[in-house]
């Protein structure tokens, strides 16, 4: 090995690489590793110990290979790659008389155990969620899908982070054009580091200015496997605990995995409730502003009177009242995300009682508006996939502003703008509002009556290779 000289050894010391010199027979063997990411037990017991006990004279690389007890290794000759291998967690065994060196996988990193999901909660389904460890996540998927056609293609992204990104799909179901496009786009990403799956989402979907998310987030492994079986592609990122699923259409944001194996009628009912929740969350406050400020005669007459009397003490007009109340609700929501556990319940009490009740007593807002705002906040959490909640929050404010200037005309135009935005998006070639348009009654029926027993084919808009389930 030519590279081993003083300056090189000094460099490895700067990088934090530990060097272990061994004398086996007459040959010097150097083992390079980084303490923080190496399993030192395996290193000591399975590599160093057998080498030290080896009494052979002329040590060649084959003899070393036959001595050490290691399951995953390979050999290489490129001297410049040695440091990269060590940085990835391998232990490099250099035999000074040989050209080749051995790269042994002794990776051990600190990780969280497989725990319950945080954003994708369920009552009946399985609860093993992805964690930040790449191998754990893949093991959860492989545990459920034992198909020989399951493909896990690995790509490396990020100049400095060298993160592994896995594209998981089933070869004879997923559309090959889709898979090819995804892999192509990921390999073109030129950035110094990616830390999370959302970085990938931003790059491959090119949707920085879009309101709605064009890919879904998956936290539970059984949901991920269901999506893979459907013909979709899952993207896992090393170090991120959420997987991306592409392509995802708007109506699929209302579909939880539970619906497929729960009572059919309950699942239809819950779907309608979820759609109603989105409507309430987006439109109810702006309808309040429209009715109070512009079109009061739409309500039944006895309600107009009680509405007027309940707003008698409010000093602002309806738009400002609604806007302020929604802003306060958003402040509470942001605050509660980052609360330490000891203060959590207290803030809940402060938020609801003090701000809600007291502002009504002080005469700052009308009681009806407090009900409406709290209802719209609660219903925004009712969607199956978390990514759409944030969009709804922003769009709600837009709707309030537009309605407060033009009344029902502005409300209708706002609805039109949102619909146009939805319809103009594509999620990897699949229309974002499929199967609502292009109208496909079978796929629509299967989405609503999403019983595993009844849906015999995969949705047509995904253009999968094999569309039979049963």
């Amino acid at each position: 090995m030519d590279i081993i000289n003083d300056s090189w050894i000094k460099k490895t010391k700067e990088l934090g690489i530990t060097t272990r010199y061994l004398n086996v027979g007459d040959t010097e063997i150097i083992i390079l590793y980084i303490q923080q990411i190496t399993d030192r037990n395996i290193l000591s017991l399975n590599i160093i110990k057998p080498l030290l006990l080896c009494q052979k004279k002329a040590i060649t690389i084959d003899k070393v290979i036959n001595t050490i007890y290691i399951d995953d290794f390979y050999t290489d000759t490129k001297e410049k790659e040695i440091i990269n291998y060590v940085l990835k967690g391998n232990s490099v065994i250099i035999i000074t008389t040989e050209e080749k060196y051995i790269v042994a996988n002794t990776l051990k990193i600190e990780k969280r155990q497989v725990q319950e999901p945080n954003i994708e909660n369920t009552i009946k389904g399985a609860r093993d969620a992805f964690n930040e460890n790449y191998n754990d996540n893949l093991s959860l998927i492989r545990y459920r899908l034992k198909d020989p056609k399951l493909r896990i293609d690995e790509l490396t992204v990020g100049k400095r982070t060298q993160t592994t990104v896995a594209v998981v799909y089933i070869k004879d179901i997923a559309n090959s054009h889709l898979v090819g496009t995804i892999k192509d786009k990921i390999s073109k990403i030129d950035i110094d580091g990616i830390l999370e799956s959302s970085y990938i989402q931003k790059f491959i979907l090119n949707n920085s200015y879009n309101f709605f998310p064009q890919s879904g987030i998956v936290e539970r492994s059984d949901t991920a496997c269901a999506n893979i079986l459907d013909g979709k592609v899952i993207i896992l990122v090393e170090g991120g605990n959420l997987a991306l699923v592409v392509p995802k259409t708007f109506i699929e944001f209302f579909d939880t995995g539970d619906d497929h194996f729960d009572n059919t009628f309950i699942s239809i009912f819950s779907k309608f409730i979820r759609i109603l929740c989105i409507m309430i969350s987006l439109f109810l406050t702006s309808l309040y502003v429209a009715v109070v400020s512009f079109h009061s005669d739409i309500l039944p007459p006895q309600y107009i009177i009680s509405l007027a009397t309940s707003r008698a003490t409010v000093p602002f007009n309806a738009f400002l009242e609604a806007f302020l109340m929604e802003t306060v609700a958003e402040i509470l929501r942001e605050a509660s995300v980052r609360l330490p556990k000891q203060i959590g319940p207290a803030i809940g009490i402060v938020g609801t009682i003090v701000i809600g009740q007291a502002s009504v007593s002080a005469g700052l807002v009308s009681p009806l508006l407090v009900i409406i705002v709290s209802l719209s906040i609660m219903s925004s959490f009712a969607t199956a996939d978390y990514s759409i909640t944030n969009t709804i929050r922003v769009l709600k404010f837009l709707m309030i502003i537009v309605t407060s200037v033009f009344g029902l005309f502005g409300f209708t135009m706002g609805v039109i703008l949102i619909t146009v935005n939805l319809c103009s998006m594509d999620s990897f070639g699949v229309s974002y509002v499929a199967p609502l348009s292009p109208l496909n009654f079978k796929a629509l029926k299967n989405l609503f009556i999403s019983d595993v027993h009844l849906s015999k084919k995969r949705p047509e808009y995904l253009k999968t290779k094999d569309d039979t389930r049963q």
């Binding site: 005669d297 738009f319 033009f406």
Partner: protein, 401 residues
């Protein structure tokens, strides 16, 4: 355009980068919309006016006082104190405004000078015409209602005997405001089929159709309380006569919906006994024909009668039932024929909407004749068929002792 020596290299590169970006599709759309829409929106909200900053009228009254038109309005009192009613839904009370003027417009100007906020007419329930005003004609006011956008055309219309000022000054426990009280009375009557309530829209349609007569509910003050007194007859939108409550039954048979009237038939066998029936209309059809320039109008009624009770319990046989049915039919048909003949003689106008039926059935003939004259000499027939349906779970027939 730009002198490169003045601008540093990085600035110029940035500008170039942004121009290229702007030429791309996505940024173009977003820039236009992001800049134009807020520019438009923040110039001001022109029409937004909160409901609590308007005077919500519950009812309106029109009267003629000293040759002046008087507008009376009941407006909801919005309580301004939050402390005492915290947590409860606030109950409302009303205050009344009176304004006079020579014309509607002048009266409205005086009315507006009396109220703190702009007037909101969308919650008005009832419009009250005094007898004085009704005698001079309500058509002009109905056209005024038509032209105001937020004045709903589903208002109930009522005529009152006393001047409206007295009506609105009545203190009653029965409702929060006189307008609500009157509305509840009318709704109750209408649901039971005991009166004919027309709203402003119906009146406008009738006037446009050219039918000269219609009836409106008539109320009056009795012992410091409002009471439904009967129906007021209008010809050419002017009040000409009143029909008392007791005499309105035949009219209800012809015009009202959901009629459930009570008929009392004396027992042919026993002088003291009377049978009380509740009658409701199963089918009603008015057939008209024109023969030798005389209009024939037949009122066909198919009634179902329900025996409520007998004054003194007797055995009812099947023949008795048939006899009672014939008696009932005869009684009702005679009443109807008498009433219509009286309308022809006294009111001299068609308040029964027979003209619309005639037009619907014989369109071309309607265009040729003058319905007003033809009605006055029309032949009226009534064809009433009663069936006694159930006896209210009482088995009074053929007792076996």
């Amino acid at each position: 355009m730009f002198n490169i020596s003045y601008i540093g290299n990085t600035n110029f590169n940035n500008l170039y980068y942004y121009i290229n970006l702007i030429k791309g599709e996505i940024m173009y759309k977003k820039i236009i919309c992001i800049f134009l829409i807020p520019l438009l929106l923040f110039t001001g909200c022109w029409d937004s006016k909160d409901i609590n900053k308007k005077c919500v009228n519950i009812s309106l009254g029109i009267d003629y006082v000293d040759d002046n038109i008087q507008f009376c309005g009941e407006i909801v009192k919005l309580t301004g104190s939050p402390r005492e009613d915290a947590g409860e839904s606030q109950s409302s009370s009303v205050y009344t405004i009176f304004a006079q003027g020579k014309t509607f417009e002048e009266a409205r100007v005086n009315y507006n000078s009396n109220i703190p906020y702009p007037s909101f007419l969308g919650a008005t329930r009832v419009v009250l015409f005094s007898e004085e005003f009704a005698k001079r004609g309500i058509e002009s006011y109905l056209n005024r209602v038509d032209s105001l956008f937020d004045y709903r055309k589903t208002l109930n219309t009522v005529v009152c005997r006393e001047p409206t000022k007295e009506c609105f000054n009545i203190e009653t426990d029965k409702a929060l405001a006189i307008g609500l009280f009157i509305e509840n009375i009318l709704r109750n009557l209408k649901d039971e089929g005991n009166s004919i309530c027309l709203d402003v829209g119906d009146l406008l349609s009738d006037i446009a159709f050219g039918s000269e007569g219609y009836v409106l509910p008539y109320i009056g003050i009795e012992s410091n309380d409002l009471k439904y007194l009967g129906l007021a007859v209008f010809k050419d939108s002017k009040l000409i006569d009143i029909i008392d409550v007791q005499d309105t039954e035949p009219l209800l048979y012809i015009l009202a919906d959901n009629t459930k009237l009570v008929e009392l038939i004396p027992d042919p066998l026993d002088n003291q006994n009377k049978y009380s029936f509740r009658v409701h209309i199963n089918k009603r059809k008015i057939s008209t024909s024109l023969k030798d320039d005389i209009v024939n109008i037949t009122v066909n009624l198919d009634l179902h009668a329900e025996l409520r009770y007998q004054y003194y319990k007797h055995n009812i046989s099947d023949e008795m039932i048939k006899q009672l049915e014939t008696e009932l039919s005869n009684k009702i048909s005679n009443e109807i024929i008498d009433f219509v003949k009286e309308a022809q003689k006294n009111f001299k106008c068609d308040i029964f909407n027979f003209g619309e039926e005639f037009k619907a059935q014989h369109y071309y003939q309607y265009q040729e004749i003058d319905w007003e004259q033809a009605f006055l000499s029309a032949n009226i027939n009534a064809n009433v068929k009663t069936t006694i349906v159930n006896k209210n779970l009482k088995s009074d027939d053929n007792f076996k002792r």
